[in-house]
């Protein structure tokens, strides 16, 4: 009897191709997709680079040398926008920033305010700032070093701090060696000129104010930079927020569930086709255009309500600042819900049955959500995958919500995201219409 039950179950599975596919193929497909998204870090070309801006107004040789070293770092990418953005910023912000940038060294550095602005707008993950130290012993050339961070990318700041420490230490060593060599060439090595060498170094290596001097290593520290420099991490965005993580993830979860609910609801189209209701509908005054637009409008409204409820809950319980970003939220939510509705209808029009829609939408939505950053922040992915993520419309939606609630940017700064989402919505609904032609005249 048990054998008969097992045999019958296996035969039923074998005769059901969809179930067979879901049981044995879909897990492998999912595994492969996620392996590609999260496991492609071994390739050097796809290793994620930290996008940064540099501000060097210290005028110190050490910082100049450190900047050069940082520019050579493969793991860093100095923002292409830095220069132009810095330049425009100078013009816009007037004399104060102009003065600071006037003293900037290095081709790719910007003013501090411009660097901070780049971080705040999410154009770079962090910015390194070298400034003249106000400490009394700074005359020796040791600059004040700060890393302006965006705690949205919690990894970048930590990695960058280590890289900057290494660059400063290396720069210092190189400068020391150059000076020593120059001096040795010019003078005989006597105790008297040795003291001269020491005083002519670009920075006083025995000073301790800006370095984490180790008292126990006083003998060694008198002649070299034996301790890493002090680097201040300044959180320019998340520091003020009461609950930064919620603002970051609310959008990701909301967009993913928006897609799921829209796709489930769009299945009504297939249900209508399966039970001949579609025939009856199309024998009335209703046209396929009207049917699709009606369903699209319904799904958009429901999706918008869903998003509004979620963010209202987030505002009440988790302190998301919804009220001060209402205009941006309304605009972004409408276009996101509209794009999700179009996408769901396109999937429904593409599929032949509700069951097929079920597994196709599960695969597509989970993959898009993974790529688009709903599950894991995109900065953790390889560069290639980050770029691929931009092909998913939910990456744009997430970026829009992050700009709004995390970076607190005004509606005007969401133009690109709004345009991309509107374009996606339009393309998807046109595709849905084209796929639905087969139902009109079967």
């Amino acid at each position: 009897m048990i054998w008969t039950v097992m045999q019958t179950s296996w035969r039923r599975l074998k005769n059901n191709r969809s179930e067979l596919f879901l049981t044995f193929i879909v897990p492998i497909v999912f595994f492969s997709i996620f392996a590609v998204i999260f496991g492609s870090r071994d390739s050097a070309s796809s290793t994620p680079k930290i996008k940064i801006a540099i501000s060097d107004t210290s005028g110190a040789a050490l910082s100049e040398r450190a900047v050069k070293l940082l520019e050579e770092q493969k793991s860093l990418r100095i923002s292409e926008n830095s220069r132009s953005h810095g330049a425009s910023k100078e013009g816009a912000t007037g004399a104060s920033t102009g003065a600071s940038t006037g003293a900037s060294t290095g081709a790719s550095t910007v003013s501090r305010s411009a660097a901070e602005d780049l971080v705040r707008r999410g154009m770079v993950s962090a910015a390194i700032v070298f400034e003249k130290s106000e400490l009394a012993d700074s005359a020796n050339g040791l600059p004040k070093i700060e890393i302006l961070t965006d705690s949205f990318d919690q990894v970048a700041s930590q990695v960058l701090a280590a890289i900057v420490q290494k660059a400063v230490m290396t720069a210092n060593g190189e400068l020391l060696k150059e000076k020593s060599d120059k001096f040795v060439q010019a003078n005989a090595p006597t105790p008297a000129n040795a003291s001269m060498v020491k005083s002519s170094l670009p920075m006083n290596l025995v000073r301790t104010a800006d370095f984490n001097a180790n008292a126990g290593s006083s003998g060694a520290s008198s002649s070299s930079l034996s301790q890493p420099p002090t680097i201040d991490l300044v959180d320019v965005i998340g520091g003020k927020k009461t609950n930064p993580v919620v603002a970051m993830y609310a959008a990701g979860i909301a967009v993913m569930f928006l897609l799921f609910s829209a796709t489930t609801a769009s299945g009504s189209l297939l249900e209508e086709r399966e039970n001949s209701t579609l025939d009856r509908l199309l024998c009335s005054r209703l046209t396929m255009d009207q049917l699709l637009l009606g369903k699209w409008a319904y799904l958009t409204v429901i999706g918008s309500i869903q998003m509004a409820l979620m963010f209202t809950w987030g505002a009440i319980v988790f302190g998301i600042d919804l009220l001060h970003h209402l205009d941006g939220f309304v605009a972004l939510t409408l276009v996101t819900a509209g794009a999700a509705a179009s996408f769901a209808l396109m999937l429904a029009a593409l599929c032949t049955s509700r069951m097929q829609l079920g597994w196709v939408s599960t695969i597509v939505i989970l993959s898009m959500s993974a790529l688009g950053g709903s599950m894991v922040p995109r900065y953790l992915m390889s560069e290639t995958i980050q770029k691929a993520g931009l092909l998913t419309f939910n990456a744009w939606a997430l970026e829009g919500y992050n700009k709004l609630f995390w970076r607190e940017l005004p509606l005007a700064d969401l133009k690109l995201e709004l345009a991309v989402l509107l374009g996606c919505g339009f393309l998807f609904i046109v595709a849905a219409r084209l796929f639905a032609v087969r139902w009109e005249r079967s």
Binding site: N275, S276, T277, D279, R280, L281, L282, C283, S284, R285, L286, R441, S442
Partner: protein, 322 residues
């Protein structure tokens, strides 16, 4: 059996006359790949007529019905509704379509379903209210108007399904197997409803596999096979033109019959004597006498009047189609 465009009575200068067919199907051809579903199908439904469309499975009925309501574009041929091509956008509103499947929303109430399809057919405000009230009364579901249809019995769902297709008072009603899976009481109710509509002037095309329904509930019958009309006419005409009007007499007899009685044949399958008679009253006494003369005793006797079932099998054969 082909119908040409010229043979259809056309209304002078587009005006509708009584002679204008409610529905004219003219030389329809449709192929799905190598499968030729329709091969020059032609027939006419007159105004106020009830027409039964019959055919075995795979005969092309579904394609024909879908062509008639504009859901399938034929490769060749045309369909006219009240003298106008069905490609005319407004003409389809003259037709009510009742699909074989339950094409209603299970998660709406009976009233909500009626309102939905009424609105889609252009009914608004007071007119819509009136028609929905009429429909609920017509299908006998006034007291269940606010219940979700998913909780209804098969017969109740069928009635809602029909009502959704007639709310807008169509001139032509197309019913595809409207009584599938319903009990005799519900079936009776459905046909009473259809009779009411017909009395009000609605022309009806009914497809069914219940030949008794076709025989009793239609004025004329069209039999389709292999994508063509193989016979059409009244039931009497069909019987006369196919298997004839003779009655079949089947007799079970016992006793020592030394030979088959004259004029009777032995049907080994049935184990009975069989003969055909024109007039039962005149010819039956003679047959019984002949049996007795050869030593037989009549145990049972059956007189079978040819019906649509015989005509159908005669025209379409007995082999299974699917």
């Amino acid at each position: 059996m082909t119908l040409s465009l010229d043979s259809i009575p056309q209304p002078p200068s587009g005006a509708l006359t009584l002679e204008t067919p409610a529905l004219a199907v003219v030389d329809l051809w449709k192929a799905y790949g190598n499968n030729q579903a329709l091969q020059g199908t032609s027939f006419v439904l007159n105004q106020g007529e009830r027409l039964a469309l019959l055919g075995p499975n795979g005969a092309g009925k579904t394609t024909l019905i879908r062509s008639m309501c504009g859901r399938v574009r034929p490769d060749r041929g045309q369909v006219f509704l009240l003298g106008k091509s069905i490609r005319d956008p407004d003409v389809l509103l003259q037709m009510g379509v009742i699909p074989q499947d339950l094409a209603i929303y299970a998660d709406l109430t009976a009233k909500q379903n009626l309102e939905c399809f009424g609105q889609l057919h252009g009914l608004r405000s007071r007119k819509l209210k009136e028609r929905v009230a009429w429909a609920l009364n017509w299908i006998g579901l006034e007291d269940r108007a606010h219940e979700l249809t998913k909780g209804f019995s098969g017969g109740m769902k069928r009635r809602v399904n029909i009502a959704c297709g007639v709310l807008h008072r169509p001139r032509i009603l197309l019913l595809d197997e409207p009584t599938v899976g319903v009990d005799p009481q519900s079936r009776q109710r459905i046909f009473d409803m259809l009779d009411e509509l017909n009395e009000e002037g609605t022309s009806i095309v009914l497809t069914t596999h219940h030949l008794d329904e076709a025989e009793t509930r239609s004025d004329r019958i069209v039999i389709v096979d292999h994508g063509k009309v193989v016979a059409e006419g009244t039931i009497d005409h069909l019987i006369e033109s196919t298997i004839g009007t003779q009655r079949q007499v089947t007799i079970q007899a016992s006793g020592l019959l030394v030979a088959a009685p004259p004029g009777l044949e032995w049907d080994s399958e049935k184990g009975r004597f069989v003969c055909w008679v024109d007039n039962v009253a005149d010819e039956l006494p003679g047959i019984l006498e002949r049996i007795q003369k050869v030593g037989g005793v009549v145990l049972d006797l059956e007189v079978h009047q040819p019906n649509l079932h015989d005509v159908f099998l005669h025209l379409t054969g007995k082999e299974l189609r699917e």
